[in-house]
Every structure is written in structure tokens, then in C-alpha cells.
């Protein structure tokens, strides 16, 4: 078996064999259901329709890509790097016939798998939950928009994952890495709100780039621009993260 593939399988298995990962996936699935219940109460008792049923999955996606998913991704990235250095299990991989580049790459791929699993669960649960809300419109069109939005959201979330992997290399302690990553994320989000001019060059501003894809007309220029910014961040942070990972001594 190719060692890159072998380690990707191993990293993915390790991640999904942790109780914490499964618990967080369950919570990910529960949040849209809980939101549906709350919104139904609004619709039935007050008569306000805050979110249409056919837009519910997009509403949930916005909530997750801006707030919840970056946190979950950072937690898993920190666990994979600082966590394994902390509990000394990183040696179990480093002492195998696999280069550090392949180890780093397979861990990043695993973060990608985690993102896809999260978004898939979220898409399925939020799409079904949306059916219980008023204001459906065209079901097929809603599902299609939702699918495109969820599928395309993988790209900026991978950028966040690579950034989290890079930050994990700067800390020996996993809690330190997690706290700093959260602070950086909040700071960048605040900066992009108060300084819109800067936001175009910040990775965190592209969490909701799916909006460029599902509008009445696809904004090719904005999509290309966003893609180049995300790709640039991915390349720079991947290279910087690998450099630090490669230099680490046990």
C-alpha cells in the first residue's frame, strides 16, 4: 500500500475512532434540528417567518462556515498535531517508513475528509429539517442550490484547516494552540467587519464565498478572485506548516 494513502486511512480512522469526534458530529446534526424546532415555534406562535424552508440549509451553512465549522476544524487539526506531540503518539508515525512530507500531507487530507463528512451530515440534516418549515418554493431548486453551496464550501474550509494545521506547529501544548487559533480567527473576523477594505485579503472573509455561486447570476470575477486568495493562503500556510513540522525534534 502506498504510504501516503496508508497514513491517510490511518489518520482518518484514528480521528473517527475518538469519542470526541463522534460526539461533535452528533452535535453538528442536532443543531439544525434544534434550529428547526425554534423557528417552527416562531412561525406558529408569532407568525414571523425568519427563514424560508427552502433557504434553511443555506442559513445553517452560513452559521456553520462562519462560526461552528472553523472551531471544529481547528480542534481536529490541533488534536492531530499538537495533541499527538503532547501525548507522544506522534512517534508511532514518525518511526515508520514514511517521510515527514507525506505524514503532514496525509494529516491535511484527513482534515479535508473531516470537513467533507461534516458538511455532508449538515447538508442532509438541514435539507430534511427545512421541509418542516414554511415557505418551500421549488424543492429541487432549493436542494440544488444547497448542494452547490455545501460542496463549494469545502474549499474555504480546507483553507481554514491548513491555517489551523500551521498554527498547531507553533505550540507544544494543544490547548495553547486551540486558544490562539480561536483568538486569531475572532480577531480576523472583527477586522474584516470593521475594515472592509482589508477583508478582501483575509482568508476568514471567504467562509461564505458560496454566496457568489448561488445568486441569480454567478459572479465569475469574484469567484476567481476569491479562489486565488484562498489558494494562495493554502499554498503559503501549507509550506510554512510543513517547514515547521519537518524541523520538529522529539
Amino acid at each position: 500500500m502506498n504510504v501516503l494513502y496508508a497514513n491517510t486511512i490511518n489518520e482518518t480512522q484514528k480521528l473517527f475512532l475518538k469519542k470526541k469526534t463522534i460526539a461533535l458530529l452528533v452535535i453538528t446534526a442536532i443543531i439544525p434540528i434544534a434550529l428547526t424546532v425554534i423557528l417552527s415555534i416562531f412561525q406558529n406562535n408569532i407568525g414571523i417567518i425568519p427563514v424560508n424552508g427552502n433557504q434553511f440549509s443555506i442559513f445553517v451553512l452560513g452559521l456553520f462556515t462562519n462560526y461552528v465549522l472553523p472551531l471544529l476544524i481547528t480542534m481536529s487539526a490541533v488534536d492531530m498535531f499538537s495533541g499527538e506531540f503532547n501525548d507522544r503518539t506522534m512517534k508511532a508515525v514518525l518511526l515508520r517508513p514514511i517521510s515527514r512530507f507525506k505524514i503532514y500531507s496525509s494529516k491535511v487530507i484527513c482534515i479535508g475528509v473531516y470537513i467533507v463528512v461534516n458538511l455532508t451530515i449538515l447538508f442532509i440534516v438541514s435539507s430534511i429539517s427545512g421541509l418542516f418549515l414554511q415557505g418551500h418554493g421549488s424543492l429541487i431548486s432549493g436542494l440544488l442550490h444547497g448542494f452547490v453551496a455545501y460542496a463549494i464550501s469545502v474549499v474555504p474550509m480546507i483553507g481554514i484547516g491548513i491555517a489551523a494545521a500551521f498554527i498547531s506547529q507553533l505550540f507544544k501544548s494543544s490547548s495553547g494552540a486551540l486558544v490562539v487559533a480561536i483568538i486569531i480567527y475572532i480577531a480576523l473576523s472583527v477586522i474584516s467587519r470593521f475594515f472592509p477594505g482589508l477583508s478582501r485579503s483575509l482568508l476568514t472573509s471567504y467562509s461564505d464565498w458560496y454566496l457568489f455561486w448561488i445568486g441569480s447570476s454567478i459572479m465569475i470575477g469574484k469567484i476567481l478572485n476569491a479562489f486565488i486568495v484562498i489558494l494562495s493562503y493554502c499554498m503559503i500556510l501549507f509550506a510554512a506548516g510543513f517547514y515547521l513540522f519537518d524541523k520538529k525534534e522529539l
Binding site: 504510504v3 512517534k91 508511532a92 518511526l95
Partner: protein
């Protein structure tokens, strides 16, 4: 005889001035080579550099002819190791741990996992989570993981750590059996001189980061009565004291 491990001029100095200086030695096929020295002598640092966990300031390491610093995957392809402590994942079973390890190698059948678990006496605990294991059981699992791929060289750093007397005897017998039957070469570090005397075929003595001397255990016992006498004489000599 064919050299399985060649170490030339290995040097690594830490900021506090400790480390290793100009370590050179070879380990031939089928040997059980012991790296004997007190705590802090530089045994683990040397082993970490050999296995790629640390970088050397100077020097060269070749395993089965492959340079560890330049051809890591090839060099480590036929090597199994335990460095410092066993490094298993505590939240999964012993069997699953070995299954994860097996994926890095070609042609390791599921039956091999059962075979090594039986060899180290953990087969009946194979489905238990490693987090519930004692230190000795974890060490045995580490040994099982090290020999899983039928390696040509096994590097063990303080393999008797955390083991009771029975555990030490078991591990020693496994090492000797594997060296005799399967011609596996062992490179073992320890500060337990008696253990090294009855396990190893040849030893090298390391102290204060320098490889002082060494030789075949049988020859040293013939000349000095015990490995302990030889060790003390070499340490005194290195300090410039008279025996």
C-alpha cells in the same frame, strides 16, 4: 560480515552543552548490540538521530546501506523500533494499533498480527483498549509493533523500562529467540548492566556523550570476570583515574 547499521562521526550538542560527540560504530547482521551507559549518557539522543526523530549537527547514519537523512523511507523500511517508551494509541485496542502499523508495509497478513500478539503474550487482551494496559503490557505491545513487519533491524531504547522481573525475562527471551531463529539484528540501549550482559553479544560503552570502548561480551567477561568490572574500568580510564 555485512553491516546492518553504520554510524559515522555522529555529533549533536544541545544548548546546555550536553549531547553526543563523534559517535561511530557498526552493527553487523545477526548481532545483539548493546549500547550501555548511565542515564543521560547520550544513548537516547543517538537512537533518536538514527531513527530520524532528531537531527544531527554532523555525521552520517546508514541502515542497510541507505542514508537515513536522505533516503528515510528506504532506510526505515526494514526497521522496527521503540524509542523511550512504547507509543500506542490508548483509545483503541491492541489489535487495532497493530493493524494501523501494518499498513506502512507490504504483505502483512492479519494472521501476522495475531502471531506477534501471541509472541509477546498479549493475544488474550487483543481487543482491550491500550489505555487499560499496564506499563509492562504497553512495552510488550511496543515490541510486537516493532517486530510486526519482520524487520532486519530492531532498535530498542531501554526495552526493560517499566517491566517486572518476569516481564524482563520474557522480553530478553523473545529478543534472543528472534536473533537466533529469524536472524534479526538488535540494537539495544540500557543502563541495566546485568541485563545487557545476558542479552547482548557485543556492547559499546557510552558516557558523557562519547563512545568510550566496547567489545564482544564473552571476551570482556573472560578478561574482566563481569561486564560491570569492564564498565567501571572503562569509565575510570575515561576520567583519567587509575584502575
Amino acid at each position: 560480515m555485512e553491516n546492518v547499521l553504520e554510524v559515522k562521526g555522529l555529533t549533536k550538542l544541545y544548548k546546555n552543552g550536553r549531547g553526543i560527540r563523534d559517535i561511530s560504530f557498526e552493527v553487523s547482521k545477526g548481532e545483539i548490540f548493546g549500547f550501555l551507559g548511565p542515564n543521560g549518557a547520550g544513548k537516547t539522543t543517538t537512537m533518536k538521530i538514527i531513527t530520524g526523530l532528531c537531527r544531527a549537527d554532523k555525521g552520517e547514519v546508514k541502515i542497510l546501506g541507505f542514508n537515513v537523512f536522505e533516503q528515510y523511507e528506504k532506510a526505515m523500511g526494514k526497521v522496527g523500533c521503540i524509542i523511550e517508551t512504547s507509543d500506542s494509541y490508548e483509545y483503541i485496542s491492541a489489535y487495532k494499533n497493530l493493524e494501523l502499523s501494518s499498513r506502512y508495509y507490504h504483505d502483512i497478513e492479519k494472521s501476522r498480527i495475531d502471531e506477534v500478539l501471541k509472541l509477546v503474550g498479549l493475544h488474550k487482551f487483543k481487543n482491550e483498549k491500550v489505555g487499560n494496559f499496564s506499563l509492562g503490557m504497553k512495552q510488550r505491545l511496543g515490541l510486537a509493533s516493532a517486530i510486526l513487519s519482520n524487520p532486519e533491524l530492531v532498535i530498542l531504547d531501554e526495552p526493560a523500562n517499566g517491566l517486572d522481573i518476569e516481564g524482563m525475562v520474557d522480553i530478553r527471551n523473545i529478543i534472543k529467540e528472534l536473533a537466533r531463529k529469524e536472524k534479526i539484528t538488535f540494537f539495544i540501549s540500557s543502563h541495566l548492566i546485568h541485563e545487557m550482559e545476558i542479552t547482548c553479544t557485543r556492547v559499546g560503552i557510552i558516557n558523557h556523550g562519547e563512545l568510550i570502548k566496547g567489545g564482544f561480551v564473552n571476551d570482556l567477561i573472560d578478561s574482566y570476570t563481569s561486564l560491570e568490572n569492564y564498565f567501571m574500568s572503562q569509565v575510570r580510564e575515561s576520567r583519567g583515574e587509575e584502575n
